[in-house]
């Protein structure tokens, strides 16, 4: 049955028991993203320690795919430096855009994607790709903002 290819056990697990959920302090930036076609929403906070992502916390409302995707994201990105994390994000984006070739792509990039390989099946459902990407887009945005804040602070420090 095709459904199982989208709703892998890993996804359902993350959906039922989401990791790192809830909004936490401290944080360098906070964003709110919405999926206009279905109304899914996520509020996401990112905290940095130098260029290391020290925390990602979130509140979200949405389907199993978007919930599980946020949970997997935190597992994958917390503790990585920004460059590594962006590489993961980029790979996940490619996975979501791979359409029919999701499973091959996921297999190839299993080392980078870890639990996120479970989303390979979602790539075949264009309407659900946006669900899976919602938190990843929010993370990208939040991280860019956090870096911008850091830049400002650094400049201030240099000036002072």
């Amino acid at each position: 049955m095709q459904l199982e290819s989208m709703y892998q056990e890993i996804i359902l697990d993350h959906y039922r028991n989401p990791h790192h959920k809830g909004l936490r302090e401290p944080f360098a930036s906070q964003v709110h993203h919405v999926n206009p076609t279905c109304g899914d929403e996520v509020t996401m906070r990112v905290d940095l320690d130098g260029d290391v992502i020290s925390d990602i916390s979130y509140e979200s409302q949405g389907c199993s795919i978007s919930q599980a995707s946020a949970s997997v994201l935190t597992d994958l990105l917390i503790g990585k430096n920004v460059e590594q994390a962006r590489a993961v994000q980029e790979t996940f984006l490619q996975l979501m855009q791979s359409r029919g070739e999701g499973h091959e792509f996921a297999e190839e990039h299993e080392e980078v994607l870890e639990d996120a390989v479970a989303f390979a099946g979602v790539a075949q459902y264009p309407a659900r790709v946006k669900c899976a990407l919602l938190s990843w887009m929010a993370w990208k945005d939040a991280t860019a903002q956090a870096l911008a804040v850091q830049d400002e602070t650094d400049k201030d420090r240099v000036k002072a």
Binding site: M1, T37, C38, G62, C63, S64, S66, Q67
Partner: protein, 418 residues
């Protein structure tokens, strides 16, 4: 179950709809319950399009060759059919691209109009919390441009229009009340008479969004008493690309034009133009010719079945569906939970299972429902829910499809382990 006499002969009707015979996800029979989003077209409508392009296609009104005469007769014949369908004189029937354009047309020309009808800074526009975005955003835009105030009716807990503050809400400052006739998300049929009475008492115009009523019940614009009525072809067995604005003749005559261009003019000089008579004044550019011809065929089809019969069929289906759905554990109807004053769109939530997940599992079983906020996000906010799952029925829907939906919902629960 026993078949009530009010049901239509869906076996025969379904034969006319090619798409209802396709299968999805391998060999699953298609159970199409997304009629509030768009309806399917019978072969009579598809054939009308094919015949138009294969034999009669030409631009209308301006030609004297055979094809131009035929195309014009077919196009204006479509107008006659639509006019008869809503019991209006043909001059009052304006073709737009969809309901949304029709509603924007009214919101814009009332913004531009002179003394009598023009919306001025400080004037009030009244809509409701259960409007489709297409009847919210145009008024927000007009209100913002002009500095008018947008106000709205609330919704009661059982999904009805809250009329408790009618007399305060609709007052001497009110220039226009724009209201949905039948809600696409709640299914509610609104009490138009009451609203029209109050609005006209204070000299306000009434715009009716009939997108979900024109396809499903007899609609007599003369009796309704509203000043404008908007609806859309693709929800009434017709094609995409065509909508209808009906307006009272004196209003359409007095109000300024909307879009400018070919067809809508009387005489053009570089300095100044005068405008054509009704209905052409509001139809700029080449109209949706094939679409109007096909809409005419759709109207013929509906008329042959009989709009009273369509309404009775849908009422019976809705009654049955409401009963069956309320037997499903954890299911909550968003909207009236009886079939009285209710259309055939039924929204619901399923415990904690997100509508996306509900819809996905149903789809896997061949059941097409819509999930999300149905372009009526304020309703979801009002009921404190992110989205709903919506099943919506039409003249070809069967009790067996309701059963399939209920069985599908059991599968959903099983799948997500609830």
């Amino acid at each position: 179950m026993d078949i009530s006499p009010q049901f239509l002969d869906t076996d025969r009707i379904r034969e006319d709809f090619p798409i209802l015979h396709r299968t999805v996800h391998g060999d699953k029979k298609l159970v199409y319950l997304d009629n509030a989003a768009t309806s399917q077209s019978p072969k009579q409508v598809i054939d009308a399009i094919v015949e138009y392009y294969s034999l009669h296609n030409a631009n209308v009104h301006r030609g004297i060759h055979v094809l131009a005469e035929e195309a014009t007769a077919l196009y204006e014949g479509g107008r006659d059919k639509v006019a008869a369908f809503i019991n209006a004189p043909r001059e009052e029937v304006v073709f737009t691209k969809n309901s949304s354009e029709a509603l924007n047309l009214v919101a814009n020309v009332l913004g531009w109009a002179g003394e009598d009808y023009g919306i001025r800074p400080g004037d009030e526009i009244v809509i409701s919390e259960m409007e489709h975005h297409s009847n919210i955003v145009p008024w927000q835009l007009t209100a913002e441009r002009i500095g008018a105030k947008l106000r709205w009716f609330g919704i009661t807990d059982d999904g009805r229009l809250d009329l408790s503050n009618l007399d305060e809400l609709v007052n001497e400052r009110t220039k226009v009340v724009s209201l949905v006739h039948v809600s696409n998300i709640l299914g509610t049929v609104n009490p138009i008479e009451t609203i029209v009475k109050r609005a006209h008492e204070v000299g306000a115009l009434v715009v009716l969004d009939a997108s979900q009523s024109a396809p499903h019940m007899p609609l007599d614009v003369t009796r309704l008493g509203a000043d404008f009525v908007a609806f859309t072809g693709h929800k009434m067995l017709g094609p995409t690309g065509v909508g209808v604005l009906w307006g009272r003749r004196d209003l359409l005559e007095e109000l300024p034009p909307f879009l400018g261009g070919g067809e809508m003019i009387q005489t053009v000089t570089m300095e100044k133009s005068t405008y054509a008579g009704l209905p052409h004044k509001y139809e700029a550019g080449t109209p949706p010719i094939a679409e109007v011809v096909a809409l005419g065929a759709a109207v013929d089809y509906l008329t042959a079945v009989g709009m009273d019969n369509v309404a009775a069929h849908e009422h019976a289906i809705t009654e049955y569906a409401l009963k069956r759905l309320q037997e499903v554990d954890g299911l909550r109807i968003i909207g009236p939970n009886t079939a009285e004053d209710r259309g055939a769109a039924i929204s619901f939530t399923m415990g904690d299972i997100h509508p996306h997940d509900v819809g996905q599992v149903l789809d896997e079983h061949g059941i097409a429902v819509r999930v999300g906020h149905h372009c009526a996000r304020p309703v979801c906010v009002r009921f404190g829910i992110p989205a709903t799952t919506r099943a919506s029925f039409y003249l070809y829907s069967t009790p067996a499809e309701v059963d399939a939906l209920v069985e599908g919902l059991d599968q959903v629960k099983r799948f997500f382990g609830v």
